[in-house]
Amino acid sequence: MKNQPPLMMQKFLRFFCDDDYLEEIEGDLYEEFLENSDDYGNRKASFIYTWTVLRSFRPYLIKKSNPIPQNSIDMIRNYFIIAYRNFLRHKGYSTINLIGLSFGMTCTLLISLYLLDEIRFDSQHEKGTQIYRVIDKRITDNGEERHLAEVGFNISGESVRNFAEVENAVKFVNFGRSKVMEEKEENSSYQNFSFVEQNFFEVFDFPLIQGDRKTALVEPNSAVITEDLAKLLFGDEAPMGKIVLTDRGEEMQFKVTGVLENIPKNSHLQFQIMYSFNTLKALPMYERFEGKDWSSNNFLTYLQIKEGTYITQLEDKLNKLVAQNIEAEDNNTPTLYFQSLKEIHFNSSQIEMGMNNSPGNIWYIFIFSGIGLFLILIASINYMNMATAKSAGRAREIGVRKVVGAARLGLIGQFITESLLTTFIALVIALGLVQVLLPFANNFTQKELALNLSTDPIILIGILLVAIMIGVISGMYPAFYLSSFNPVSVLKGIKINAGRAVNLRRALVVFQFTISIVMIVATLVAIKQMNYIQEKPLGFNKEHLLIVDINTGTVRGGYETIKNGYLGLATVKNVSVSSRIPGEWKNLARVKAAMANESANHRELYFIGADANFLSTFEVELLQGRNFREANNSDSVSILINESAAKLLGLSQPDQQELIISAVNYGGSEQPLNHGDFKTRIIGIVKDFHFQSLHEEVKPMVIAYHKNPVHRIDYFSTKISGDNITQTIASMEEILHKVDPGHLFEYHFLDDQMALFYEADLRRGKLFAVAAFTAIFIACLGLFALASFSAEQKMKEVGIRKVMGATVNQITVLLTREFAILVGIAFLIATPISWFLMDWWLSSFAYKIQLSLITFILGGFITLAISIITVSFQSIKAAYLNPVETLRIE
């Protein structure tokens, strides 16, 4: 044939034109085209052809959508029946699909609940979008930028007075912890000592069960307590009007004026008890603040700002106001800025003193969303692969349906119905599993997750939408693929050319295993890093160290009696008193200090006050110089410094050099020392030890004698032997109570305490391990199904090969090889991805392992091993079949 009309136009015509007219029109057009091309040449003929086709694109010629069958309900019922029969016919495959989908959905549901809870952090308040926290940004002498959530007294009140945009403001102040008791002093607990302004409940919506929101915190010496604390203190008695006592050296009495519903865990503000701010007015210190204090760091301040206010403008106005009111010589002027309530949870890592005990990390939100999505994808891929792999079995059904008049859309609908059905059965199973697993998940994540479908419509709608999405995604490809079969060839028994489907199936398997390998490698790296952290020499020995808190002046005064008492115990090997300890969980003091010979050059150093036993108790190595001498108290101005401090100060030898400490910072603002500068002499240099978590590098530190004007002692650290620990603790408590009977005996094991540094990392690591396990489990389920399918298909081939003399080994290898190659490709893709990811994760540690190829190979090897075991299970079974059995069937 010499000339052909434009192919695209032919296709277009065939695409839209109704079959009733197509043949005639196409024929006429073709004939005309041939004549035209003889008469006018090919180009013009093509043009006329194209134009005519376009002109033919008229409503009456366009394919009629197949009329909706009148018995559509019967059809849908039929879809269900067929789906049910199919399920029964292929029980094994269907179960695998179902298990995979329900596992994937369970994990994803749990992850979603977790994410939802994180995203809804601090969303309890109606005026939440208007609430801002005031943050103080200042530059330290070291040039470091610090952000503090505590600001001056006047900021809240003066903001409301001066700026119309500020509708309300509330502040509160924390004084550490205090012991809380009821009147008989039988029940007690340690709680934050926080004084809260009376309008707290105007700004925040925490519900009060009893008491008046407006007046509960007005009277001096009144307190609002939570249900939990009320129960602990008063049991079943009504708490309102009762007296609570607090002990902070001196006893204070408060009347309970309100009972607060327990504050949900997804709030950054956490109170068990709030004392009325007005109580402070009676204290002498109050005068120092009221009306005068613009720049201290003591008061957590929250502003309620009118909607639509330009926040940066308001910040500028406030900063101007503060600058006007601060005395000129105070050159440490802070810059204040506002942080919106919803940002506090995710965006506070650099902010100190903010009451944010469980800060969120937006990156982990992304990562875990990704994991949830991938798990579902892996499960959906299983469904897709199984559906297309088994398509040969259903080809005839499709052929018959088409012959009888099924439209393609109807068939697509049928297959999507089937996948939706599977998805919804899996969803029901998953919902059940989630209910069962929730308590464990809550325990694990330290959250209060709940699956309340009735009270939380968002969850219900979300779940339904996701289920439909999964059903459609996993059903879509099989539906289009299966419904495209040509009925004539299918019914004639011609084998469908499945090349494209097979390649897609392989690609999907590679995708599944890429994700699985990335997750396994990530888990391995995380485990290695966690082990590294736990086993890294810290520069001191954290084992068998029992730390006892000093909470009262009586105990502090009688420390020598207690120390000697402890040393008298057979199981106690060493005792030290110190202001802070390595692995400290409270704020470490920092001091501003300068060498006497360069007094203008201030440095910031961490500070611990300790006795002579400190080095021996913690097994810290003394590099140069000498330790403190306890005997004659002559060392009260001596200090030890660590290697980093020596480097910072440029010292190589401890030689009684004078270091002048001029100010201290206990975690709030820097303040001058009460009794003037503390002039110290350096007598020794100790080896660096990790007094902070390994996320941080070792910072310069000063260890001063415990009798110093900077920081008094707060802890006994005792080195005990491993035997009879309960007995030792009991004896220690007894010795302490001889000095102060009312002192609550609080103790920690240092290694447990230090493990808390990495608790979040560990928890995430475990979560990751669970997700990785689930991923590879689901992926292997799919692989198992595919392998058994492929073994089934090759039954004859295997039979013939065996007859020809192939060994079981050869056949097993033959059947396994294909899948092993796929996993191998997945490994090649996964390695760079996981390398990149883990490198990023490790960068959050100051001390970290080197990524080694071994880890990646191990991860790949584990995956390969698991998948080969999975596959060879089927392959070996197939290889052992008697060829007579397989070849006889026809």
């Binding site: 043949e23 005639e24 029109i25 196409e26 024929g27 073709y30 004939e31 005309e32 041939l34 010629l61």
Partner: protein, 112 residues
């Protein structure tokens, strides 16, 4: 009565089908119309008219033989139905009546 009335183009197509008798299919009709009227017509317009006329019952069709020049596609031949002939006659009568009703003077080119 709508449905039996004939448009000008439809009438021409219908007449052409009559003229071509046994050889009336899409392309031949198109060529005949073009030849006789001297204007070029798009094939799709012919098809549209044919299907409309068939729907109205003025035409009937049957599938013919496949030929090589048509890429293996069969022709669809159209024939006038008696209803179609009746419609043509009606249209003709209508015109003749109208013709005969025009005053002589108009045809003579008078008027004013």
């Amino acid at each position: 009565m709508k449905g039996t009335s004939l448009g000008e183009f439809e009438e021409i197509v219908l007449l052409t089908v009559g003229v071509l008798f046994d050889e009336a299919y899409g392309l031949s009709i198109k060529k005949e119309v073009e030849e006789r009227s001297g204007r070029s017509v798009n094939l799709s317009a012919i098809h549209a008219a044919l299907y409309r006329l068939e729907e109205k019952g003025f035409l009937k069709s049957k599938m013919g033989e496949a030929t090589k020049t048509r890429g293996g596609k069969r022709k669809k031949y159209f024939n006038l139905t008696s209803f179609g002939i009746q419609a043509l006659e009606q249209a003709k009568t209508l015109r003749q009546n109208l013709w005969s009703s025009i005053p002589e003077i108009v045809l003579k080119g008078g008027g004013s």
